[in-house]
């Protein structure tokens, strides 16, 4: 049986907190995260008919948000004013609204990751998507998700894991 538009709207509303969390961790800037979530909800509502019954609303919404973010990164690359692509400038902005040391440390470590690795670390580690779901959202093969995730986590370990056991010998493939 078809879900009504009202049902679908309330299902979207129920996902907004997760969208906010993912956008906040991806962008590390409250205002930009709110913009991205707003635009994602707007596009989802305009596209209710594109949500087939049985589709997982979370995966559908994360896919929409991912596509919006990709469009935005591309628009920024094209913008006449030069904006650094390593998005280290986000770190300073991120500090404005949160003075928590842990949060700042993690913001800055995530900012040091290439976007593709950050997406995988967050979708799987924070949002709990399966590898297959993350692969669908990002539109890449599962193997690519696995290697991006592994490299991203390793880099974060170098940056954040001061207490962890650091082996003196590193494995060489």
């Amino acid at each position: 049986m078809d879900r009504t538009p009202v049902d679908r709207k309330s299902a979207i509303a129920a996902e907004v907190p997760r969208l906010m969390r993912y956008a906040s961790s991806l962008l590390r800037d409250r205002a930009q995260a709110e913009d991205l979530v707003h635009d994602c909800v707007a596009r989802a509502l305009a596209n209710l008919s594109g949500w087939r019954d049985g589709d997982n609303p979370r995966r559908w919404l994360f896919t929409i948000m991912h596509n919006l973010h990709v469009d935005r990164v591309r628009a920024r690359m094209r913008a006449p004013t030069h904006v650094s692509l390593d998005d280290s400038h986000f770190n300073e902005v991120g500090q404005r609204f949160n003075d928590d040391l842990t949060r700042r440390e993690i913001d800055s470590a995530l900012g040091a990751l290439p976007l593709e690795q950050r997406q995988c670390v967050l979708l799987i580690g924070l949002e709990g998507l399966t590898y297959a779901e993350a692969a669908q959202v990002l539109d890449v093969p599962v193997g690519t998700v696995m290697s991006r995730l592994s490299r991203g986590r390793e880099k974060l370990r170098e940056l954040l894991d001061r207490d962890g056991i650091r082996p003196t010998l590193r494995r060489i493939k």
Partner: protein, 257 residues
């Protein structure tokens, strides 16, 4: 994974993420017993996820901005108020009328230079408008007949709005572009996940026909061609095989008229 493969950090992560089962899970568990580095990798997965939750879970309980709440409370579908649309259309016509004076400059270029320009403009228009939420188009797809009539008249070649629902795309709408030597039309389509494809069209005065060709720039693929009347370019962030299917459907629909 076969027994001969080295167990790497990828598998250690997959085990920690609950992605493995059966014999594979057993195999990786056994490898971890003898490998301190792999154990550290798997342990770090749990420590890192805890740090991520500590840092960002707060964002889930922050108040949802009022504008987003309004969106969820109001009627679905974004509709551009008719008044705003009329103003935008009038402005576009005024700009185009001013642009017509430049018309002939590019006719001295060779056909391939001219086509290069068409592709550049198509890519530029895609990059500017595909990311727009509130105003991606001037006339919405719900008024497709009116849109095609208006744009056809403005660019000087009548056409019928192509339907590519078979390829999984619905019409978002269209807009007039005034940046080039003559007015051009941009039609926008999107799939169920909101990924967008644009069709750029302008009049092709030389009347020659070329077959479908492909180019790529900055992650975007473009297919372009000319027929008797049109120079067309289809752009999108899709793999070439997928975009080719869409382009062929658009080509066939325009041929049918």
């Amino acid at each position: 994974m076969t027994g001969a493969d080295r167990i790497t950090a990828l598998e250690a992560n997959a085990l920690a993420d609950g992605e493995l089962s059966g014999d594979t899970a057993v195999e990786v568990r056994l490898a971890l017993v003898n490998d301190e580095e792999l154990r550290a990798t798997a342990a770090w997965r749990h420590a890192l996820n805890a740090k991520l939750h500590a840092a960002y879970d707060g964002a889930m309980t922050e108040p949802v901005p009022a504008r987003t709440r309004r969106l969820l409370a109001a009627r679905p579908a974004w509709t551009i108020p008719a008044g705003a649309r009329r103003i935008a259309a009038a402005a576009a016509i005024a700009v185009t009328a001013a642009g017509v004076g430049f018309t002939t400059g590019s006719l001295h270029l060779g056909a391939s230079d001219e086509m290069d320009r068409v592709v550049r403009m198509a890519l530029g228009a895609h990059q500017v408008y595909a990311g727009e939420i509130r105003h991606p188009v001037e006339v919405p797809g719900s008024e497709s007949a009116h849109m095609a009539k208006w744009l056809g008249a403005r660019i000087g070649v009548p056409f019928t709005s192509p339907d590519i629902a078979d390829a999984g795309f619905t019409l978002v709408g269209g807009r007039l572009l005034a940046e080039g030597p003559r007015p051009a039309a941009l039609l926008m389509y999107e799939d169920a996940t909101g990924r967008r494809v644009t069709l750029y069209m302008e009049k092709w005065p030389t009347g020659e026909e070329t077959k479908l060709q492909q180019t790529a720039s900055g992650g975007l693929n473009t297919f372009y061609w000319t027929d008797k009347n049109f120079a067309c370019a289809v752009s999108g962030n899709f793999d070439p095989a997928k975009l080719k299917v869409v382009s062929e459907q658009l080509y066939a629909a325009l041929e049918r008229g």
